[in-house]
């Protein structure tokens, strides 16, 4: 009987394991050195904030794994030997596999800053990171976070629940404006400041200064040379594939584990999925490495098909994603870029209270709807998925926007206002 070994018990690895079990009777082993059981990484922040306990993060009760004959092993894989189909653990123990799925996720980036390995300097990706954060924030008077993305804003939110003053250093001229159009980015700037976070734009980290005990004492800002005293430095300048242990394995690596469209590496029986996988070429508008919960899950679904004798390519549908910046929810369907690309235009509407907005990206000539970002308004994925497939025009989308609304009942609707704003916008363009 085939032994399928999965390294990593995150959403990608576990989705693969569950779908393989659904379709076959093969022996499945899932290895992780992070936690005994699958948990939702995206929810780690809620444990620190006291919204949930560790056990609430586990989507399946502990009996689930034995019942479904998914073997769990808490160990760290230090070496993979594809030629002899064998793994070596850090303990020296070995394990043979017939098929291997690498789903080891990401690590947070360190860009070679001076002092980046000091005590009190950390990222926020793993369970161990959260445990370390508990340690590091015991007597924390001031924190500095380096990097303005989703994790940076989450870490700022977490620390603010413990009344720790936070300075957020953001390289860009506005929060996450490499992804968000200006109006949206501005809303988040304001919202972060509303939560008493000191947001410093156009600010790079120069170095982290140590005290006499090898602990962080302060950071120096590149642009101004200013020294900010602090007891904690959060490194949240993005993540990259966690593939160090594969360096000399012979498995082809780039930024991540190189895979073809079937998620297969240069070895037939080795696959890579989730954050750690890198496509040779981006699919559609997608990046070659997609570090998103949803894509990890989708790759898990696909690889399970292939392994169970139904070869299939990773062929994701319309792009979607979501996030929450403090109290403001963000959803996106299709593609919206910070600046409209050649031949495209944006329609942007903002609610006067400054906590809700939408941006629609469309093609200028054909008026084809390309994508939408929404802040503070929930939208129905099914509806946008359908409209994208049907290649609807921006006019159709604006006309039917109400159908896509997914806000709770009795919420204030803004479709009329959006419609009006869109028409005015249109007239201005025609004048």
């Amino acid at each position: 009987m085939d032994h399928i070994v999965i390294i990593g018990n995150g959403i990608s690895g576990i989705t693969a394991a569950r779908h393989i079990r659904k379709q076959s009777d093969r022996r499945i082993t899932v290895i992780s050195s992070e936690s005994d059981h699958f948990f939702s990484r995206t929810a780690l922040m809620y444990v620190y904030m006291g919204h949930m306990k560790w056990d609430h993060l586990k989507p399946y009760e502990d009996w689930f794994w034995e019942k479904n004959r998914i073997e769990l092993k808490n160990a760290f894989v230090s070496q993979v030997q594809p030629e002899i189909n064998q793994l070596t653990f850090s303990s020296g123990e070995i394990m043979a596999y017939d098929k291997l799925i690498i789903a080891t996720g990401s690590n947070y980036n360190k860009f070679g800053w001076k002092g980046q390995d000091l005590k009190g300097v950390q990222g926020m990706v793993t369970k161990q990171d959260i445990e370390l954060l508990e340690e590091n924030t015991k007597n924390c008077k001031q924190a500095v976070i380096v990097g303005g993305g989703l994790i940076g804003s989450e870490l700022a939110e977490m620390l603010s629940t413990r009344n720790i003053p936070v300075t957020l250093l953001v390289r860009e001229s506005s929060f996450w404006n490499g992804v968000l159009p200006p109006g949206e980015s501005e809303i988040i700037n304001n919202h972060i400041r509303e939560h008493h976070i000191e947001l410093r734009l156009n600010s790079n980290l120069k170095e982290i200064v140590s005290d006499e005990n090898g602990r962080v004492k302060s950071v120096i800002v590149e642009e101004t040379g200013e020294e900010i005293m602090c007891d904690l430095v959060g490194l949240t300048a993005g993540v990259s594939p966690n593939i160090n242990f594969l360096k000399d394995s012979g498995i082809e690596l780039g930024k991540g584990v190189k895979v073809n469209r079937s998620l297969q590496t240069n070895y037939d029986n080795i696959y890579a999925i989730g954050d750690c996988a890198e496509q040779h070429e981006g699919i559609g508008e997608r990046k070659t490495v997609e570090a998103v919960w949803y894509t990890g899950r989708m790759m898990g679904e696909v690889v399970a098909q292939t392994i169970c004798g139904n070869p299939m390519e990773y062929n994701p549908g319309h792009w979607f994603n979501s996030a929450k910046f403090f109290d403001i929810e963000y959803q996106t369907y299709g593609w919206v870029f910070p600046e409209p690309r050649q031949g495209e235009a944006h329609f942007h509407w903002q609610h006067k209270a400054g906590r809700k907005c939408i941006t629609i990206n469309y093609k200028e000539g054909s008026r084809k709807f390309v994508g939408i970002n929404t802040f503070g308004i929930r939208m129905r994925q099914e509806t946008f998925d359908k409209w994208l497939t049907e290649e609807r025009t921006v006019d159709y989308v604006i006309d039917h926007l109400k159908q896509a609304n997914f806000d709770p009942e009795f919420y204030k609707h803004h479709e009329k206002e959006i419609f009006k704003s869109f028409k005015e916008n249109l007239q201005q363009h025609q004048l």
Binding site: P59, Y294, Q305, D327, F406
Partner: protein, 525 residues
Amino acid sequence: MSKIEHNMSMTGDAPASISTTQKIASALGLLGLFILLLALTNVNFPNKTLFLSLSLGLIAGGTIVFANDAYRGKPVGIKNDGVWFKSLTNRGLSAWFLGIGLTLFYIVLYWFPEYLGLNSEGENTGVISLFDPLSKLISGNPASQWFVYGTLYTLAILIFGYKFILKYRNNNYEILRTFSVMFFQLGFAFLIPEILIRLNQPYFNPANLWPLNYDLFAGYKLDEFFSSGSVGLMMFAFGILSIFVISPILTYKYGKRWYCSWVCGCGGLAETAGDPYRHLSDKSQFAWKVERWVIHSVLVFVVVMTIAVVYSFLGDDSKVTWLTQDVFLWGSAGILTLLFALIMIFKRQELAKDAKYGAIGYFVIIMAIIGINYFSGNSEIFFFQAYQLRSWYGFLIGAAFSGVIGVGFYPIFGNRVWCRFGCPMAAVLGMQQRLFSKFRITTNGGQCISCGNCSTYCEMGIDVRAYAQKGESIVRSSCVGCGICAAVCPRGVLKLENDSLDGRINSNEVLLGNDVNLMDLLNQK
């Protein structure tokens, strides 16, 4: 006493404890309670009206000041910071104190009201006498232990309702729902019955439906209705209509939430005063199994009990009325058989195996009892005197379960223990909600990140995430439609909706976002 976290050290500073203003507010509220306590020890206040007003005013004022300080002037959003760090909301020492205090209060209230100062012979004393002025103002009678309880209960729903509204002031569904329970508690449950008494009419709370109101068809109640002319008859008719006509229509259109989280007094208290404990419900699959057996057993108990009391109320002389004992008994059997047959014929695919066994088992038992009674000419229907059945039900379910465990244990088991495990009304509504209603919680395609906020904050212990992460609609009989899962979801995945019956229950484990061919393939399996 709080549970130790084995898997993750939680040693850091919990989110700041309460502010100075909140401490002062708590002190004010406790002072109000202290006046009640003094009254309990028979301190004879010179001016009862003044001291009662002072006491209730302090309790209300303290809570309002506390809530204002906690939520006003802060950005709107989800306010669950530190819930699992605080002793009161994480089964710590203060939670146990509060739980035991509430439990003792219920025990005294139900079984030893004389300790509260009840005196049916002469003047009340103690804390009950403190409420005499208010009771006389409303109903014209001296207070009883139930008046004291009703007043405090209503006050709790109003002031904690205010707090809840502030907490969720960005959410119109929560605001409207809370105004609704406040209105029904104050008007229907508290004022209308007392005013009816003043007008010499039977005590009647139109919002308290049978079988939650298990006494509605008790002999003494029927006597009251039938001896009070047209008003009594109207009440009786409304009682019948509300459970057999009004409720089924509303539940079909909106799900059981129309009652459980918009109207019901038990639900009202759970959603307001009980809100800080909603996350303590047990989410395990085991708890769900227990829930299904216990709640439906209570339902069977109340049906049997009600049939028995009505049976013994009726005569067996067909010349006096067409509705004799036999007609009633066989009529009840007929209705139950019809209901059972309809469900088994049209909805059996939607029932799990244990639900079918349970339904068949209970059906056979009830029918056997009715049959044995009829053919043996046993006057003691169901082997016991009807009044005995009723008093046992009242003791076990009405008092011990709904009061002592249901509310007393809020800080330990969560705020909906009674509604989830015990309430026969919830069982009736739940059965209909599961099988014949337009209500569901829709999942938003593939947007779920399995974070678990929805499951954690589900007061009914539903593992909402288990559905959301599969892209499946949530159609559960226990769901009271409080809407908190949708509120706490960080990714906008859940929406309470009334929509068509078609495709309401989809158990396809298919999430939007992936290859269309793959989704079709998975769908076929």
